[in-house]
Amino acid sequence: MTRYSLEIRIKPRPGLLDPEGKAIHHALHSLGWGEVDEVRVGKVLYLDLDADSEAAAAEAATAMCRKLLANPVTEDFEVAVTGALEGAGS
């Protein structure tokens, strides 16, 4: 078993309104950052996971997103394995 670190990014679907992104964009402009174009805001989940392989870890995370972490109506997700610690499994 290896302990993998994962990063799951959950992002509003293109086309959906992102009021928080809009508000940040507006605030950045008022503070003088006129060069910023669009802003979109998502969530990122950091988690550690024991699995047999990197592929298995990513697969488990994908299953979690499908079942719970992302709402298919409004969100897209991306899973990235960012680290591995051999033999650290519990």
């Binding site: 309104l17 928080e20 719970l68 709402n71 109506v73």
Partner: protein
């Protein structure tokens, strides 16, 4: 005539809903989310609040509770299910209603009285209202902005499944009357069969004049009037 108020960790409108159901004559029980079985009931109520703290997304964790399988089964047999606020969010997460409730466009929690217009009176929930009637009802939510893809939204409107809409005092669905940015000022929708209703405003908080309005009471008395017929 029995009603179940399904409660999750973090529900906080459970007691209010219980009282409203009782007020119109339902024998009412709380059903904890880990319990199973809703066969004894004629009406299922999903209360407002912050199930699981609204962490992740409102209603997302609650809909994984064991009892939600029973709620789905109850609804698919035609049983009336009413989800208010967090209950509405949970119904959308569970797929019993389409779409999703995302963060209010103003990015703030909105607690105030709003006016909603009754768009349909042929439902067990609304038979006591007049079509086009304008109700004064409180809202209290941070994520009540109804979103769905274009096709779904068109279908909802096309099939007349929008039950309540935010309006101004004169009954017009203006932008100013929309407290959260919901598409087409949607405040409540029903499923295809018309037996599942989700709404963000709190009719159970408008059941006595001392609370500022009793415009919500008819929703419960409508149910009390139609539920016996449904279950026979």
């Amino acid at each position: 005539m029995k009603a179940a108020v399904v409660t999750f960790p973090g529900s906080n409108g459970d007691y209010d809903l219980y009282k409203a159901a009782q007020q119109v004559g339902f024998e009412t029980d709380f059903v904890w989310h880990r319990e199973r079985g809703l066969d004894d009931y004629d009406l299922v109520l999903l209360p407002g609040g912050f199930s699981y703290g609204d962490y992740l997304r409102a209603g997302a964790i609650a809909r994984m509770s064991p009892i939600m399988e029973d709620v789905v089964a109850f609804a698919s047999k035609g049983g009336p299910v009413l989800g208010i606020c967090n209950g509405f969010q949970t119904l959308c997460e569970s797929g019993l209603l389409p779409g999703a409730l995302v963060r209010n466009d103003v990015l703030r929690f909105q607690g105030m009285d709003v006016r909603i217009r009754v768009e349909r009176t042929d439902l067990a929930f609304t038979s006591g209202y007049e079509e086009g009637q304008v109700l004064r009802i409180p809202i209290a939510h941070g994520e009540g902005n109804f979103e769905a893809d274009k096709d779904t939204l068109e279908r909802l409107e096309g099939e007349g499944r929008v039950v309540f809409r935010y309006v101004d005092r004169h009954g017009n669905p203006t932008d100013e009357a929309n407290p959260n940015g919901s598409w087409h000022n949607i405040a409540g929708i029903t499923n295809e069969a018309g037996n599942v209703l989700g709404m963000m405003p709190h009719p159970e908080r408008a059941t006595e004049s001392i609370l500022g309005s009793d415009d919500g009471l008819s929703l419960f008395s409508s149910l009390a009037a139609s539920v016996p017929a449904l279950s026979t």
